[in-house]
């Protein structure tokens, strides 16, 4: 059904690269990331800010992408899970999650990692309590959280690994 839609130009930086895209002004940043930019690492969970599956960094702060209107990202710097690491070059946090068994279905994981990145940038040696508070906006239905907390805590003293058993 053809609906007359206004589109606005959105210019932002995503994972260090300048992006220009026409967007429907009624869209959220989550929808633009996933459907216009193909960055589907950021997950769509509740779409109302309750689950944290869509957590990204906006100007370095962890936010729910489902609660940012696309055009509110104009001129801003966005970091998504795709910018954290790649299958060929995992970020130390990602390696720590794998090593600690902190990933089961994986759906909460991108959001958990982005919340953890926000924390570790401000506090490189957080206590378990500080970690729990930093992920208190991220729900996980699989792991029971303990291994996630451990994975974040133990990356604090992460040393560069070579020849690890997983072959990364």
């Amino acid at each position: 059904m053809p609906i007359e839609r206004q589109e606005n130009l959105l210019r932002m930086k995503v994972n260090g690269r300048a992006v220009e895209v026409q967007v429907d002004p009624t869209w959220t940043l989550l929808r633009v990331l996933r459907e216009k930019l193909g960055l589907t690492g950021t997950k769509k969970g509740c779409e109302q800010g309750d689950c944290g599956a869509c957590t990204i960094l906006l100007e370095g702060k962890a936010v729910n992408a489902c609660l940012v209107m696309a055009l509110q990202a104009e001129g801003k710097e966005i970091e998504t899970i795709e910018g954290l690491g790649t299958p060929d070059r995992l970020h130390p946090l990602q390696k720590s999650f794998i090593r600690h068994g902190a990933v089961q279905c994986g759906f909460c994981t991108p959001g958990m990692l982005m919340s953890a990145v926000a924390l570790l940038r401000k506090n490189s040696d957080p206590s378990a309590e500080e970690i729990k508070r930093s992920i208190s906006g991220n729900l996980c239905r699989c792991t029971g959280y303990a291994k996630i907390v451990r994975a974040i805590q133990n990356v604090s003293d992460f040393q560069e690994e070579r020849g690890h058993a997983t072959g990364d």
Partner: protein
């Protein structure tokens, strides 16, 4: 389906000019943590959404001699991290610190908490207990001031004109002998709507006589307000257990007078008293 246009003014004047033409069809967005879910559910279908997050003059905290001014798009995180608020209004910091979770606090704003006027709001009762005053501006009528205590008519109904923007929340500094605190009861430690919260300001002189007593329970009445009968039961007295107990009971009874007996009353009647006694014990220690 939503069909709105989205505008981002760069100054208060721009925003007010826009509203002077389009107020009735416009929703203002700041952090969006309340508005965006409403838009998704199509509770409302505005023609325009006005994004006020890029107006520098609407953000930040300023300390003056006798007052502190918080601008409306200051986020909960910014409030928690503010040295000025931590020094002068711990209750406000505590209220902001337990809204939602980190992601919500990085976007949600004090202006939004007041403007949404949910009965379960956390920051709103703390501002009430601190005698907060609102500054509102419109192109039509200029600037006006209204105490927060007179600014909310009913749940979700702040007395703002459609063409007005909240431009400031003004809080008088407390007397040196007064302290503020805030507690919240929720079903979880985080991401929880308040089942009950309580903002209190207490001041005692050197003889331990109470000289300042402000009590605002939240999430227990349609609109939060000062509980004057309970306050009167403590003002001018020393906070000894029988006096505190009587005031706590008066507080709970005053709540029931407003709400009538509801399914939650049996719980809230007792818990409010215990919360109050706990808070008073800590403040008078």
């Amino acid at each position: 389906m939503q069909k709105f246009q989205f505008y981002t003014p760069r100054s208060v004047d721009d925003a007010l000019a826009f509203l002077s033409h389009n107020a009735e069809q416009t929703k203002i967005i700041a952090g969006g943590t309340d508005l965006i879910p409403s838009l998704r559910q199509e509770d409302l279908q505005p023609a325009f959404v006005l994004n006020i997050l890029e107006i520098g003059a609407l953000r930040g905290i300023t300390e003056q001699d006798h007052r502190i001014r918080i601008r409306p798009t200051t986020t909960f995180t910014e409030m928690v991290e503010s040295p000025v608020l931590n020094r002068h209004f711990p209750s406000l910091v505590q209220a902001a610190a337990f809204v939602g979770g980190p992601q919500i606090r990085n976007r949600g704003t004090i202006g939004g908490n007041i403007g949404t006027a949910s009965p379960a709001a956390d920051v709103l009762p703390a501002v009430l207990a601190l005698d907060g005053e609102l500054e509102l501006q419109s192109k039509r009528s200029g600037t006006r001031y209204i105490p927060l205590s007179r600014a909310i008519a009913a749940p979700y109904k702040p007395l703002f004109q459609p063409d007005e923007i909240l431009t400031g929340i003004i809080l008088p500094k407390l007397n040196p002998e007064a302290r503020s605190t805030f507690v919240k009861v929720g079903r979880r430690n985080a991401m929880a709507r308040a089942r009950m919260n309580l903002a209190v300001v207490l001041g005692m002189n050197r003889e331990k006589v109470i000289t300042e007593m402000r009590i605002v329970p939240g999430a227990v009445m349609p609109v939060a307000r000062r509980m004057e009968r309970a306050e009167g039961a403590l003002l001018g007295k020393k906070p000894e257990p029988p006096v505190v107990d009587a005031a706590a009971e008066a507080l709970a009874k005053e709540m029931v007078e407003v709400t009538g007996t509801r399914w939650s009353t049996e719980y809230k009647f007792h818990v409010l008293q215990n919360l109050f006694k706990g808070v008073l014990g800590r403040l008078t220690a």
